[in-house]
């Protein structure tokens, strides 16, 4: 709405000095933050990679080429490939409804979207066992018809969808609300249909918000442990995702293999972080232009 305003901040100017803390305080705060980050983030990350490559590149690659590992990677990719598009669709429609329309039950919907954040992932997994498990509500019926959900791939996907569905919606709702309805109204008055308005006006305005949400959703879908652990049944080569496989390898004292597989997740985290900061920057730009 407003033209960009260029303000010049300079610590050398008298006003700049008047508004900042003395150098000692500033350096202490920065040092504290850096030490904390090193201890809790950089060191563990370095440990993962150093352990993974401890016995050389060939051992590392062999650990990844092991059939059970490959199958766990495949399962994780399948889970993410199903979960992320579904949650993208759900998140965009929910955010669109909440931000641009008024309806009864809107607050209830917002609360429900937040539910997975407030429920422990283990409980989320347990819910599915209670519903679809053999002792659950529809477990016997499922068994009669030979449909496997719990301790099989469908259960893993269901639990992952539940745990990750707030990410896209939560990212988009505040962004869409901040941008208001005026552009959509303008499009409607000009004769655009609902779908044209959505694809030509709403979507381009939240493009980076969507990418941000998808990246976070994907990272969580691939890295989810608790909920998946409850429903998976830990069948090697069948229902083990990457995080579950790491745990099994570690429990078997197969450290190099465990860290090698874990390094894949670490790579994923690094890439996620990178895309996330680009997306964050772009989202800010989109908000400033509105």
């Amino acid at each position: 709405m407003s033209a960009p305003i260029h303000t010049v901040h300079s610590n050398k100017s008298p006003t700049g000095r008047a508004q900042t803390e003395p150098p000692v305080v500033r350096w202490l705060l920065i040092a504290a933050a850096l030490i904390f980050l090193t201890l809790f983030l950089a060191l563990p990350l370095a440990a993962v990679f150093s352990q993974a490559f401890e016995k050389g590149l060939t051992v590392y690659l062999d650990a990844l080429k092991e059939p059970d590992t490959l199958s766990s990677i495949k399962l994780t990719l399948i889970t993410a490939a199903v979960t992320v598009p579904l949650n993208l669709f759900f998140g965009v429609t929910a955010a669109w409804a909440i931000a641009k329309f008024n309806f009864t039950g809107k607050n209830l919907l917002i609360t429900l979207i937040d539910l997975p954040f407030s429920v422990s992932p283990v409980i989320s997994g347990l819910i599915y066992v209670l519903i679809f498990g053999l002792q659950g509500w529809i477990g016997p019926w499922l068994q009669e018809h030979d449909i496997k959900i719990v301790f099989a791939v469908p259960g893993i996907i269901l639990a992952t969808i539940f745990v990750t569905f707030p990410f896209v919606a939560r990212e988009l709702i505040p962004l869409m609300e901040a941008q208001g309805k005026e552009e959509e109204e303008a499009a409607l008055v000009l004769g655009a249909s609902g779908l044209q308005t959505f694809f030509r006006v709403t979507l381009p305005n939240v493009k980076w918000g969507i990418i941000y949400g998808v990246i976070l959703c994907n990272a969580r879908a691939m890295g989810e442990f608790g909920a998946v652990s409850v429903v998976s049944g830990h069948i090697r080569g069948m229902t083990n995702t990457v995080p579950l496989h790491v745990e099994i390898l570690y429990n078997e004292y197969n450290y190099t293999a465990a860290f090698a597989v874990a390094s894949l997740l670490a790579f994923l985290a690094l890439i996620t972080l990178m895309v996330k900061s680009i997306a964050e920057w772009k989202v800010r730009q989109q908000l400033e232009n509105s």
Binding site: E185, A187, L190, S193
Partner: protein, 344 residues
């Protein structure tokens, strides 16, 4: 295209935005909906556009009931206060939007669209800007692009919601003169919302003064200014002074003997060194404030607690050579008296 507004009412929760509003807007006129914030003027405009649904009443375009028809079928042009330009599109794509979203059968060819857009950009005097993005334009330029975008679909009715509200004073004055000129060229029935009486008086063919969800008065700028229907209209169109009193019995006049308030506009108060006639009142100069070309003098009437504001031109002020604390005589040139519902 004429617009008939019949008994429109709209409620937001417990707040009555519009209570039974009836108004007819003749074809080709430029009408201003004038009122303070919360008077329902924007709601009325949005109901005409179809962006809001009335609780009751009807909207007729050229005699046809359009109350139930969808926004996109009403063929209206709408200009928003904050422009609502599509940020991610160039100026060209913004203006062409209404044409590009048409179904294939009625969509003009690319060449026709290009021609129409450049014609419109010429009309709003922004020919060289087709490739720019809204963020690269000034406020006044953005609003002109918003207008070009609204006109691109050849609307039967042009609706403008506080179109100059977000602009600074100089650009605003320039743009409203330009809008008046544009309307004289294209003659599309236009309704614009404003809370600025100068803007309404300068631009509109007709002014509809609104207050608390009701129409107080509707008429030409001269009518509403010279013959305000009630104290609200008088108050809203310029500074007024109030004199409380009781009407004297003079024949069979309605309301005689009742309490009444007389209103005098501040530029209708004359200041003299000596009493001109029996209506002159003795007063003391309390305060002098210079406002560009005009001078505002606050006076205390002798024997009354009321303060009176008079607005003089700089020339008159200098000829009088007024000083603070001086005693002078004031005489109202034109007085309007309102008793309850009666106007005298």
């Amino acid at each position: 295209m004429s617009i008939e507004i019949e008994n429109i009412a709209k409620q937001f929760g417990t707040f009555t935005a519009l209570g039974d509003v009836t108004l007819s807007i003749p074809s080709g006129e430029l009408v201003a909906l004038l009122g303070p914030s919360g008077s329902g003027k924007t709601t009325l405009l949005r109901i005409i556009a179809g962006l809001e649904t009335p609780d009751s009443g009807r909207i007729l375009f050229n005699g046809t009931d359009t109350t139930q028809s969808h926004v996109r079928d009403r063929k209206v042009g709408f200009v928003f206060q904050h422009y609502a330009l599509f940020k991610h599109m160039t100026v060209f794509d913004n203006v062409a939007f209404g044409l590009n979203v048409r179904p294939k059968e009625t969509r003009p060819t690319k060449e026709e669209i290009r021609e129409r857009v450049s014609k419109l950009l010429r009309l709003v005097q922004l020919e060289g800007m087709a490739g720019r993005y809204p963020a690269q334009l000034s406020g006044g330029q953005r609003q002109r692009i918003a207008l070009a975008r609204a006109l691109a679909v050849e609307p039967q009715v042009l609706l403008l919601d506080e179109p100059f509200g977000a602009l600074d004073a100089q650009v605003r004055a320039e743009l409203r003169r330009w809008l008046r000129k544009l309307h004289d060229e294209i003659h599309v029935t236009s309704v614009f919302v404003t809370h600025d009486q100068d803007e309404a008086l300068e631009v509109a063919d007709r002014i509809v003064v609104m207050n608390r969800g009701k129409i107080e008065q509707s008429g030409t700028p001269d009518e509403v200014y010279e013959h305000p229907a009630n104290p609200f209209v008088l108050n809203f169109l310029g500074n007024v002074n109030l004199f409380h009193g009781r009407l004297q019995q003079t024949g069979e006049q309605p309301g005689a003997g009742e309490n009444a308030v007389s209103y005098v506009r501040s530029h209708d108060i004359e200041i003299d060194r000596s009493p001109q006639d029996s209506t002159a009142l003795c007063a003391e100069v309390r305060h002098i404030q210079k406002l560009g070309p005009a001078v505002r003098v606050t006076l205390a009437i002798a024997g009354s607690p009321e303060l009176v504001e008079a607005e003089l031109t700089r020339d008159v002020f200098q000829n009088l050579g007024l000083q603070q604390g001086e005693s002078v005589f004031v005489r109202p040139r034109q007085v309007r008296v309102f008793v309850e519902d009666y106007q005298i």
